[in-house]
């Protein structure tokens, strides 16, 4: 028995790669759906905050990511946009990352028609602006100065939904979907703490532990962490078989496989250690 574990401990890493690939591919091919249960989590906090806003609230949705993190953040963007549209909030899209503007446009325009929403009345994409935190500080005094036109070069003064909006004071919520810096932290520091604007967010799983600290201090109203956060929001919004919900099945199977590897690896390590082999 000990020999088996020793042999497992020295397993060729390529076999592990194949097993992980199978753990991901098989659930996708078999359309396996593992129910996603949403508890009292930060994703529910964000959902409830958006739900409680009065209809017609102005919400900044900042698409601070690029295609490399699309599998995690694009389902999040689509679920959040759907929820904002269903609650009749007005979405002001923008991006701190250059390619985020195009991804945000995809998310908003793909849902706009089916939910009876109109560009410039219910949503607008102001596009990308460089500067990160410095730019956010300037939004606190004049949004028009930073974005004289939207992404398609339509002047601010010709966009009906933006009339009456001057600075961050006229915004009821900022949601940043962030893959790194600049992103949620810049919004928390420059908009949340400086101008007292509620900040919500969605992030890649890698950066989630770092952002949990802002939840405990109530510097953020809610957080969607990685694919699980996206699946939670899809579930709460009522999207059946959403991209993130479908992604959670291979995710769960692969996690079980990795946990088994960790257990086997540890048993092999301690077995070898007892024999005096491992250092």
């Amino acid at each position: 028995m000990a020999d088996i574990f020793t042999r497992m401990g020295n397993l060729d890493r390529r076999i592990i790669f194949i097993l992980i690939a199978l753990a991901v591919i098989i659930p996708i091919l078999t359309d396996l759906i593992i129910p996603n249960i949403v508890g009292a989590e930060p994703s529910r906090d964000l959902f409830e905050f958006v739900d409680a806003l009065p209809p017609g609230s102005n919400v900044i949705l900042s698409f601070d990511y690029d295609p490399s993190t699309m599998p995690e953040l694009q389902p999040m963007a689509e679920a959040v946009v759907r929820h904002l549209f269903l609650k009749d909030h007005r979405i002001i899209g923008m991006a701190l990352w250059p390619q985020g503007a195009a991804l945000g446009q995809d998310a908003m325009s793909s849902l706009s028609d089916s939910l009876g929403k109109e560009q410039y009345l219910d949503w607008v994409n102001l596009g990308y602006k460089t500067g990160g935190g410095v730019m956010i500080v300037r939004l606190g005094t004049s949004m028009r100065a930073i974005f004289p036109t939207d992404r398609d070069n339509v002047p601010w003064s010709e966009i009906p939904m933006l009339q009456g909006i001057n600075s961050l004071d006229d915004i009821q919520l900022v949601i940043s979907l962030s893959a790194g810096d600049p992103g949620i932290i810049a919004w928390v520091m420059m908009a949340g703490d400086r101008y007292d604007i509620p900040i919500g967010g969605g992030c890649t799983a890698v950066s989630a532990p770092q952002l949990y600290t802002y939840l405990q201090t109530e510097q953020m109203v809610g957080l969607l962490g990685g694919l699980k956060g996206a699946a939670d929001y899809e579930t709460l919004v009522g999207i059946e078989n959403g991209e993130a919900i479908r992604g959670m099945s291979p995710q769960s199977v692969a996690h079980i496989a990795i946990m088994l590897f960790i257990i086997i690896g540890n048993i092999a390590y301690f077995t070898q250690k007892r024999k005096g082999g491992a250092r």
Partner: protein, 217 residues
């Protein structure tokens, strides 16, 4: 020619080339890697010119309505100073531009960063115990004990023996739990990317093969 299918095939081939590294280093992987680096560099240069430089600087210096705003010559000069690093004789000029960037960043962040990431966190830790129900109080106690013992672990002015040593041990245990949580989240992130690629290969690329071979719909 159906350009969508061409795009899907290019994406799939490059993905497979990159994953071939998992077997071992090979020329296909190298090709895909260099292609990615080269294309990224080219893309960013063009993107920066048309989406950053022209709208934020050039259009302000030479507005559509005519005229010349000379004040915008200054940021242009600072941008050129940055490139001076490549010429050893005038490399010192780049320090002016760098100094401005560092100074602005430090000035803007000094107070805000301290407020958001130090004061607010300390306040959150101190006041957390006083609020909420039993579970919340327990969770807050874990937080406070975790923070204090974690700090003790990094306090090297006193030998880690006796009570200090035991507290430091609690601290390292808490740190290990935090690293474990972080590791778990990292695995979730990397798997999400793998799932994204596998979904693309299985649901977008594979169905194009029968179409190209003229089999099925």
């Amino acid at each position: 020619m159906n350009w969508e299918i061409v795009g899907i095939w290019l994406g799939a081939l490059v993905t497979l080339c990159l994953y071939s590294f998992l077997y071992r280093d090979n020329p296909y992987y190298k090709f895909a890697e260099h292609l990615f680096v080269g294309m990224s560099a080219g893309y960013w240069v063009i993107y920066s010119i048309f989406n950053v430089l022209i709208p934020n600087w050039w259009d302000n210096m030479l507005p559509e309505g005519g005229g010349f705003n000379w004040i915008w010559v200054i940021p242009g000069l600072f941008a050129l100073f940055m490139l001076a690093r490549m010429v050893p004789r005038i490399a010192g000029l780049s320090r002016l531009a760098l100094g401005m960037i560092v100074g602005t960043g430090a000035g803007l962040n000094m107070l805000t960063f301290f407020q958001s990431n130090a004061l607010a966190q300390v306040k959150g830790t101190i006041f957390s115990v006083a609020t909420g129900g039993v579970w919340s109080i327990f969770s807050s106690l874990v937080l406070v004990v975790g923070v204090v013992s974690g700090l003790v672990y990094f306090f090297f002015s006193k030998a880690h023996t006796g009570f200090t040593g035991k507290t430091a041990n609690v601290g390292i245990t808490i740190l290990m739990v935090a690293f474990g949580a972080s590791f778990g989240y990292t695995i979730m992130a990397r798997l999400s990317l793998l799932i994204g690629r596998c979904t693309f290969l299985l649901e977008d690329w594979l169905p194009t093969i029968p179409r190209l071979l003229g089999i099925g719909g």
